[in-house]
């Protein structure tokens, strides 16, 4: 839908640990996409997210959500966060310590609806914890409550600030699935800050790479990354990020420890005991590796 496209053209001077960096982003996001903002810390991903949420005002520019202007420096328009109908999930989850799990979710609802709260509690497996306060929850449980809470608001745009950075690898996989499920279920346009390539490949339909405040690449994750990372070492360990069927063969995407992406052809019986998230080794025998001079 044309009127659901988010148009962003903003500039903001950021004060980072490496000195001042100018964030200059011009991009648009299609409705229903799960977009990953990828880049090193200090590149401006979180700032861009906070600008979209209305918590930080850009120095200059325009943000349009469908037909609604959220920010226009020339017309001096800056819609407050309360009126943007967004859901922002914070890195520290920002659960309200004075409220129980159930009250946290209830608080986010525009109108009180007990049935909807129960539905969210069930969806995220939180029924047992409904009376608990956030301080008694584990990281993974907090993350689920935070996700349920932002969804309770029924946002038009979901903003996730490194939602999984505080969790260990195993928990991360479980919750990546949950984010994907929530996104598929509700079809809400989602923007997720991440510096984990694996996460980007598993979840995102579109990726925007930000370096030093500028958008360097964007597109589908495989297009945005594959062209400039040469794959083909003799022995590489990594993690399976994606398995795609192509005719009778399968293409397995493996991401190595230093974030290289390798595509490997596999037969059905090769995949018998392999699944997404498994740690694997990609190797090639004898004369397959080809050498070429760099630069």
């Amino acid at each position: 839908m044309e009127n659901d496209v988010i148009f962003i053209d903003v500039e903001k001077l950021m004060h980072t640990a490496q000195g001042p960096v100018k964030l200059m982003v011009q991009t648009s996001i299609q409705s229903g996409e799960l977009v990953a903002l990828f880049g090193q810390s200090g590149a401006g991903k979180t700032t861009l997210l906070r600008i979209l949420a209305g918590l930080v005002a850009p120095d200059r520019g325009l943000i349009r959500f469908g037909n609604t202007i959220w920010f226009d420096s020339e017309k001096k328009i800056n819609i407050v966060p309360q009126q943007r109908n967004i859901g922002l999930m914070f890195q520290d989850f920002a659960l309200f310590p004075n409220m129980t799990v159930e009250q946290n979710i209830q608080f986010a609802q525009p109108e009180k609806n007990k049935a909807a709260v129960t539905e969210l509690l069930t969806l995220f497996g939180l029924q047992e914890l409904r009376e608990r306060k956030p301080n008694g929850l584990s990281g993974g449980q907090k993350q689920r409550v935070a996700l349920a809470r932002v969804l309770a608001r029924k946002p038009q745009l979901l903003l996730l600030d490194e939602p999984l950075s505080a969790l260990d690898a195993e928990m991360r996989h479980v919750l990546q699935d949950e984010i994907a499920r929530a996104h598929n279920l509700l079809g809400v346009t989602t923007l997720m800050v991440s510096h984990d390539l694996n996460e980007v490949f598993r979840l995102a339909t579109h990726v925007i790479c930000i370096e030093n405040g500028k958008v360097m690449r964007s597109g589908r994750p495989e297009n945005a990354f594959l062209d400039n990372s040469i794959s083909g070492k003799v022995q590489i360990t990594g993690q399976i990020a994606r398995i795609e069927k192509q005719d009778t063969l399968y293409v397995v995407t493996v991401i190595s420890g230093n974030n290289q992406i390798i595509k490997v052809i596999a037969f059905e019986n090769d995949l018998e005991n392999l699944k997404i998230g498994d740690r694997v080794m990609v190797y090639s025998k004898a004369f397959n590796p080809i050498i070429s001079k760099l630069g």
Binding site: Q82, L88, P110, N135
Partner: protein, 226 residues
């Protein structure tokens, strides 16, 4: 009980309760504003609020008397329009007491609000909640120990206030003679038994209040660690 003794205690209580109630009404919005304002002169405002903690009460009392004086435009204006004479009256003492106890209310609240992560406020705003609702439903309930500390310190401090009451209010039974003044007065009159009674009551009330503060904070610490 000696009626004068009862009257003095009543007046002391009245002053402390009124001061605390007024300071809740002023202190809450003021501490909120101070905690999140980006105004340039914030350090100056913070210094002014804290002045009563470092200045001798006689300095503030002296300025209050000057302001209240009918020879001054403010005192003259009050007398002319409202027929009010603040010097050596309960109201005058109350205003002085509010100013003098202001840091005891504002500082704990200010520190409490500043200690909360910004993300709590921001999360509430992005969930569509107004600043007012966020303050009462999210911020205030999460600084409960600060609120209790502020209330108890303000109350205890107002009960024990001596210098400024003496300067602004003098020692008028039923009007400005509070317990701390009465102790001084009774000692001057070598009436140690009465002084002892007042002193013991002030001692016990302060002890109970401070013990409450510390036990609440201890409970909160264990709760936080869970």
């Amino acid at each position: 009980m000696d009626p004068q003794f009862a009257q003095t205690l009543c007046l002391t209580l009245k002053l402390a309760v009124s001061t605390t109630v007024i300071l809740v009404l002023i202190g809450l919005p003021f501490a909120y504003w101070l905690a999140f304002t980006k105004i340039r002169i914030k350090p100056l405002i913070e210094a002014l609020v804290s002045m009563p903690m470092v200045l001798p009460p006689s300095v503030i009392g002296y300025y209050m008397l000057l302001i209240y004086s009918p020879r001054n435009w403010f005192g003259e204006w009050l007398g002319r329009i409202f027929d009010v004479q603040l010097a050596f009256s309960f109201e005058g003492v109350l205003i002085a007491s509010v100013i003098f106890s202001l840091p005891f209310m504002v500082q704990p609240l200010h520190n409490g609000l500043r200690s909360l992560p910004d993300s709590l406020r921001e999360a509430s705003y992005t969930l569509g909640k107004s600043k007012m609702l966020t303050f009462f439903r999210v911020l205030l309930p999460n600084i409960k120990p600060s609120v209790i500390t502020a209330l108890a310190l303000t109350f205890a401090h107002s009960i024990g206030e001596f210098g400024i009451v003496l300067m602004v209010g003098g020692n008028m039974p039923g009007e400005t003679r509070v317990a701390s003044i009465a102790i001084y007065d009774e000692v001057q009159a070598l009436n140690f038994e009465a002084a002892n009674q007042y002193a013991l009551i002030l001692f016990l009330v302060s002890l109970v209040l401070l013990t409450t503060i510390y036990s609440v904070n201890k409970k909160y610490d264990t709760w936080k660690m869970m």
